[in-house]
């Protein structure tokens, strides 16, 4: 969306830059995005940085996009399972789509997500890049 909110971006930087999740101290469940209460009922949660490698579960190539992504279209987006079993959704970059398939190894990369034209603010975040393809 044009002109993303700066405070919203700023407060989500730990997640956008380092994939900081919450782990429940009681049952061990990992929550990304972070939650304030685990499904087990516990509110004792600690920060956990998610691993930076995993495998692709499924992907699609999206041709109808919002205003921020017109220059990047089509977007390859998908579901990734990280090495600790936690799943995350995100863009898949630097991929040869015809070689991409479920099970492909991917790594987390740090990339530009939104270049806000009017204010010149650039917003970053995690994306996924195939390894060895």
């Amino acid at each position: 969306m044009k002109h993303e909110s700066v405070p919203i971006y700023w407060r989500n930087i730990p997640q956008y830059y380092r994939l900081v999740a919450k782990r429940c101290k009681k049952c061990g469940a990992v929550h990304f995005p972070p939650v304030v209460r685990c499904r087990c009922g516990s509110k004792e949660l600690e920060d956990l940085e998610l691993p930076k490698e995993g495998k692709l579960v499924e992907f699609t190539v999206l041709h109808q996009v919002g205003t921020d992504f017109l220059k990047q279209k089509p977007l390859v987006v998908g579901l990734v399972e990280l090495s600790n079993g936690v799943r995350v959704v995100g863009q898949i970059v630097d991929a040869q789509v015809e070689k991409l398939a479920p099970g492909a190894k991917v790594e987390v990369v740090f990339r530009r997500v939104v270049a806000d034209g009017k204010h010149g603010l650039v917003m970053y975040g995690y994306k996924f890049r195939p390894v060895g393809l």
Binding site: M1, K2, E4, I8, N12, Q15, Y16, H31, F32, P33, E58, F59, T60, V61, L62, H63, Q64, V65, G66, T67, D68, F69, L70, Q72, L75, V77, G78, L79, R87, V88, V89, G90, Q91, V113, V114, M123, G125, K127
Partner: protein, 369 residues
């Protein structure tokens, strides 16, 4: 607890209504529904998904009433994304059941064509998690595509099997005078349409359309209006990344189980269903979630021939009027049971499925004669 009847209704044809403001579009259809019911309304429930983001109007209900010269009537705005319509009917139903009012109106309205198509994508994507899904470029379409891809693989269907959904919807839409598209299409048209997010093609997407629908609900049975037998809304408060399965609508399964039980009917009693097929795959999953076909069986059933689902044409042919759609569905279903504007269905029970986001909230409404 009081019974609740659909006493009056009105629909505005879905389309591109550049000549009307959002409040005027809603007012026109509400006026018709009140005249149809021949009843005074004591409260107005307003369903809209994008009145603020797309049309720059808060407090929409007040401006709708102002347009009709109706003063001092309480207004309640319901926003459950593209499932707002079903949720507004639920709120109205509960108020009537409690005996707080005798007659209320529900009006659903959305005008996505007041903004450009890429801005529509921006706005529709706010039904997703805005910080961790929309921010990265996801839209409801991208998730529908991922679910369709996994469903087709799991049950070994061909894309062609899914494309039959659009063909059926257009066949039904041809009989709905309020539908956006009122012409049949061929399977080859669907199969050869542009890929929008593989495996989904243009014909898998319900086109966003402007429109408004209104229903007047009352405690007393009047004329030949059907009764709302039960309503249930349920949520799926689990992120797309953390879902157990990708070929099921969890919010619908729970809402359907509960609503059918309260109404005392089984899926076999359903003579007509209006389901939330914003994308073809959701139509197939809704058939399964309602228990009309078994899990994985929707596209096989579609291959066998006609199904009494979305006689309106669904989101594909009637159009996706976002938060107004649930109100359209209730009026359409009531009229199908009555044989008004639509061919009368063979049976006395119908269900509406109204969903917000990608399986985040579902409402099931059981209507019976």
């Amino acid at each position: 607890m009081k019974d609740v009847y659909v006493v009056g209704g009105a629909l505005h044809p879905a389309g591109r209504h550049y000549d009307k403001n959002i409040d005027d579009l809603a007012a026109a259809v509400l006026d018709k529904a009140i005249a149809d019911a021949q009843a005074d309304i004591e409260a107005l429930f307003v369903a809209s998904s994008t009145a603020e983001l797309g049309n720059k109007q808060q407090l929409l209900g007040v401006y709708v009433l102002e347009s009709l010269g109706l003063d001092k009537i309480p207004v309640f705005r319901i926003e459950n994304g593209d499932g707002s319509g079903g949720a507004a009917v639920v709120a109205a139903y509960h108020a009537l059941r409690a005996g707080e009012y005798n007659c209320v109106a529900v009006v659903g309205v959305d005008k996505p064509n007041d903004v450009l198509s890429n801005q529509q994508q921006d706005i529709y994507a706010t039904t997703l998690d805005t910080h961790f899904e929309r921010y990265f470029g996801f839209t409801p379409l991208s998730y529908a595509a991922l679910m369709a891809k996994m469903y087709l693989k799991k049950y070994e269907y061909k894309y062609e099997d899914l494309a039959r959904w659009a063909v059926l919807m257009h066949a039904h839409g041809a009989g709905n005078p309020y539908a956006y598209f009122r012409r049949p299409v061929k399977l080859e048209d669907a199969v050869n349409s542009e890929v929008v997010s593989e495996p989904l093609r243009l014909y898998d997407v319900g086109p966003l359309a402007d429109g408004a629908a209104a229903a007047v609900l009352c405690n007393n049975k009047k004329k030949d209006g059907p009764r709302i037998l039960s309503v249930t809304t349920s949520t799926n408060a689990v992120g797309f990344n953390a879902r157990n399965e990708y070929d099921v609508l969890y919010s619908l399964e729970e809402a359907a189980r509960s609503a059918l039980k309260k109404a005392g009917i089984t899926p076999r009693d359903i003579a007509a269903a209006e389901v939330h097929d914003s994308f073809s795959i959701f139509g197939a999953l809704a058939l399964e979630g309602l228990g009309i076909v078994k899990r994985g069986g929707a596209l096989a059933a579609l291959r066998e021939g006609d199904l009494p689902v979305n006689l309106s044409g669904g989101f594909k042919a009637r159009g996706n009027i976002l938060g107004a759609t649930g109100v359209y569905q209730v009026v359409e279903l009531a009229w199908q049971l009555m044989g008004r504007e639509f061919k009368r269905v063979e049976g006395n029970y119908g269900v509406v499925h109204s969903m917000g986001g990608v399986d985040r909230v579902s409402t099931v409404i059981v209507v019976g004669l």
